[in-house]
């Protein structure tokens, strides 16, 4: 009886210690961080060489999951390779915002493909897309305030549905690269 109790306590301690170790490992590797190499006054920039790591960190930091079956590309979008030379630097926040843009485009594609409607998930897609503007990487930019309203107005002028117009105009291959899956 004593032995059984000892065994139970020992197992419990082992589980607690073990799970703490796993948590620490997730905390250490789950949120990779890249410090921009170039600093100019209050502004920081990633070098071209830092972009692959910055892209990986940015996609890991997107707070909501992609639609089922979708994965972020291993390579950063072409916009983060500038003009193809190494003489490009990128303000901190651009890879992060483009990762959330990639997320948004994936949900729009899921919605536009008809899969969401077939799976009865149209309302879920709308809820997901509504969260985008509250992501930190989006929220801190004044230029994107009222984004959905502006895109809706543009879609109306183009006689397209808002999501169809947005996908065509803002999910082009320089931002929404779907070629090289992880």
């Amino acid at each position: 009886m004593i032995k059984r109790g000892t065994l139970i306590i020992g197992t419990a301690i082992a589980l607690v210690v073990g799970s703490a170790g796993v948590s620490a490992a997730i905390a250490d590797t789950g949120s990779p961080h890249v410090s921009p190499a170039i600093r100019q006054g209050d502004t920081s920039f990633y070098s071209q060489e830092q972009i692959p790591a910055a892209w990986t960190a940015a996609t890991a930091a997107v707070p909501e999951p992609l639609p089922a079956g979708a994965t972020y590309p291993k390579e950063a979008p072409p916009l983060l390779f500038g003009d193809g030379t190494s003489n490009n630097i990128y303000e901190q926040g651009l890879p992060e915002e483009l990762a959330t843009r990639w997320w948004r485009c994936a949900w729009i594609e899921y919605s536009q493909s008809g899969t969401a409607a077939r799976d009865g998930k149209t309302a879920e897609v709308q809820k997901k897309l509504a969260k985008w503007k509250s992501f930190t990487a989006v929220e801190e930019f004044d230029g994107l305030q009222g984004y959905e309203e502006k895109m809706s107005a543009l879609a109306q002028r183009l006689d397209e549905s808002p999501l169809a117009a947005e996908f065509r105009l803002d999910c082009g291959p320089d931002v929404y690269n779907t070629g090289s899956e992880k």
Partner: protein, 147 residues
């Protein structure tokens, strides 16, 4: 007398409405401005800024008016626009050479307008090499009907 008063007030209302309509129609509702400032630290380096902005018209004009330009080198500032798509109309450039003119971005495919949607600003300066040489400030105006 009462009828004349009514007629005058009706005419006054009509005039006021017409004036309001003219003002509404002549002011580009979607036009937006942003104060821009930056510092270019190295010669020939293209800097990509993180703020996405939205051109909310189908065909837009985008301009930049500098209030200050770095004092060193050639003093010119090359600004560019990048969007989500590789189509040429998404790329536009302008070279800012003084603080007295308004410089309009030109699409590199020769189109007279910039397409709608989100764009990002880029900046470089061939004559700016370190320190405060490449600093610039100015006003970016976008979502203006291209005419």
């Amino acid at each position: 007398m009462k009828n004349w008063r009514n007629r005058f007030s009706l005419a006054g209302c009509a005039l006021a409405l017409s004036a309001a309509l003219i003002v509404t129609l002549s002011t580009p509702a979607a036009a937006a401005t942003a104060s821009i400032s930056g510092k270019i630290s190295a010669c020939g380096v293209n800097q990509y800024y993180s703020t996405g902005r939205v051109n909310s018209l189908n065909q837009n004009a985008v301009t930049f008016k500098a209030t200050s330009l770095g004092p060193c080198g050639s003093g010119s500032l090359s600004l560019g626009l990048r969007a989500s798509s590789g189509v040429a109309s998404s790329f536009a450039k302008t070279t800012v050479t003084n603080t007295s003119s308004v410089f309009r971005f030109k699409a590199t495919n020769g189109a007279s307008y910039i397409s709608g949607g989100t764009f990002y600003l880029t900046a470089s300066s061939p004559g700016a090499c370190g320190g405060s040489c490449g600093s610039f400030t100015g006003t970016l105006t976008y979502s203006v009907p291209a005419g």
